[in-house]
Amino acid sequence: MMDTANVEKWCTKEILLKNRAKQKRRQRFMYVLIYTAAALAVITLLVIIGFIFANGYKELNWNFLTQGVVDAGREGGIFPLIINTLYLVGLGLLFAAPLSILAAIYMTEYARQGILIKIIRFFTTNLAGIPSIIFGLFGFMFFGRILGWSWSLLNGSATVAVIILPTLIRTSEEALMTVPLGYKEGSLAMGATKWQTMYKVVIPAASPGIINGIILGMGRIVGETAALFFTLGSGTNIATSLMDSARSLSLHLYTLAKEGLSVGKAYATATVLIVIVLILNLIAGAFGNRINRYKENR
């Protein structure tokens, strides 16, 4: 009885005020910490981009964008390489995206959620973290030698497809798993088949997450260098067939900088690379919005 009387008085105004001051100090400290971290991250990014742009704009002109590579890159421009990079991204996604989305649908919706699926998940997650040079070696040996694709656009895009496949599968799976069960039930309860339900309701609802994975994959393809040395080769003309060797922008950038051919043109190439990544992201984002206009309450 005595105890309860004491307990009721624990929250006097004095005690609360004393604690409140301490809590406010802590709160302010965390605010500062969080804002500093965010600012540092953004500033670092801006400094890097600014640095590249500042060094790249001198060589960046209409001729650079429209002319072919002359004298191994010392002169001329990068037009064929821009086109090759777009080919590489396009083909890589063409191989990887449908395959990974279908695989993710199988793993989340069709397969029995047993030990086998757990093992597959374990491996896809780990494959996503493997250095791309290892996939490059695989592409070189398997696609290049065994299938005889040599150094070619076909080999390069197949290899980048394999590189982004695990990431795409994982992100698509995550996206599919967040679709509310009610959508599926509602569709099935009207007599839709499982595939109709997937195709018309579940995949559109998951599309923002899937598109996000594709954007990440695109970034990885555009930035890939090591694996492409083994597989894509270093041709400097626009690829006219799948079997042509055709270097991408990042490969060219590496060659220019490493062999000291033209540091100015290397920076200009980097600038173009950044702009291409930005444009591809914007296109993918707009595409995602078109697929699913009804996500938000509009």
Binding site: P180, G186, A189, Y294
Partner: protein
């Protein structure tokens, strides 16, 4: 034909058995969730299924359109006849069954599509793509669900932008668009405010002229208000079923009486 014979004819029609359940057992793995259920549900009547949480009433409801098929490890013994056809026979087309036996869920679940596309979804998946016909079906279904006036100017906007009560009526309209004869409702108002609930209850009273309705509800007053027949479930058994007035006023079983008078549940 005078008024008396018309009434008599109607009486005969309404006494027709639409859904007949015979010796139904349901198992989740080795756990028996429904035990030897026997009951008949009349055409153009509202049947309410009541009972405490976990008593098997929702499970039972989902047997009638075979939504339980989707649950791994769930199997059913016994028969459910709809218009005399056993829906658990091997050659039954489940897609057609679910077209005939529509379902409205506890939480409104409109798809991430426009209001129009939500309603047109069912007809489209069953192969109707004629734009004119779809427009007619959408308008008719929305009118039937008492939603047309509220959404007719925004048919092509997202179905997620309307209120929860409107969404639930949209889900009812979506079911009506595929022309079912039975409509199952799994606690259709439990996520809604009292005004929306009232609208749905009015709608149920209206719809029973054309459909056989089976509704699961936690709300005893709702069961008393909307249903003609009531069945009381407890721990996988159907304790008793009969006319709603009789169940609420003169329950035969002590457990039914205890439940509806609020002694447990």
């Amino acid at each position: 034909m005078n008024a008396w014979t018309t009434a008599a004819a109607e009486e005969q029609v309404t006494n027709e058995i639409k859904v007949s359940v015979k010796n139904l057992d349901l198992f989740y793995g080795s756990f028996q969730a429904l035990k030897d259920i026997n009951m008949d549900m009349e055409a153009n009547k509202v049947t309410a299924l009541i009972g405490p949480s976990g008593c098997g009433k929702s499970t039972f409801l989902k047997c009638i359109n075979r939504m339980n098929d989707l649950i791994p490890g769930c199997h059913v013994k016994g028969d459910i006849l709809i218009d005399g056809t056993d829906i658990y026979k091997d050659d039954v087309d489940v897609a057609y069954l679910r077209k005939e036996v529509g379902m409205v869920f506890q939480k409104p679940n409109p798809f991430e599509m426009s209001i129009f596309d939500n309603i047109a979804y069912g007809p489209r998946i069953h192969g109707l793509h004629d734009k004119k016909k779809l427009e007619i079906i959408v308008e008719r279904s929305l009118k039937r669900a008492a939603l047309w006036d509220e959404v007719k100017d925004r048919l092509h906007q997202s179905a997620l932008g309307i209120s929860g009560g409107q969404q639930q009526r949209l889900c009812i309209a979506r079911v009506l668009a595929v022309e079912p004869s039975v409509v199952l409702m799994d606690e259709p108002t439990s996520a809604l405010d009292p005004i929306s609930t009232g609208k749905i209850e009015e709608l149920i009273a209206e719809l029973k002229n054309d459909y056989t309705i089976i509704i699961v509800t936690h709300n005893m007053q709702q069961a008393a208000r909307v249903s003609d027949q009531t069945a009381f479930f407890l721990l996988g058994d159907m304790i008793e079923a009969g006319p709603t007035t009789q169940i609420f006023q003169l329950p035969r079983d002590k457990r039914t009486e205890d439940y509806i008078t609020g002694r447990f549940g």
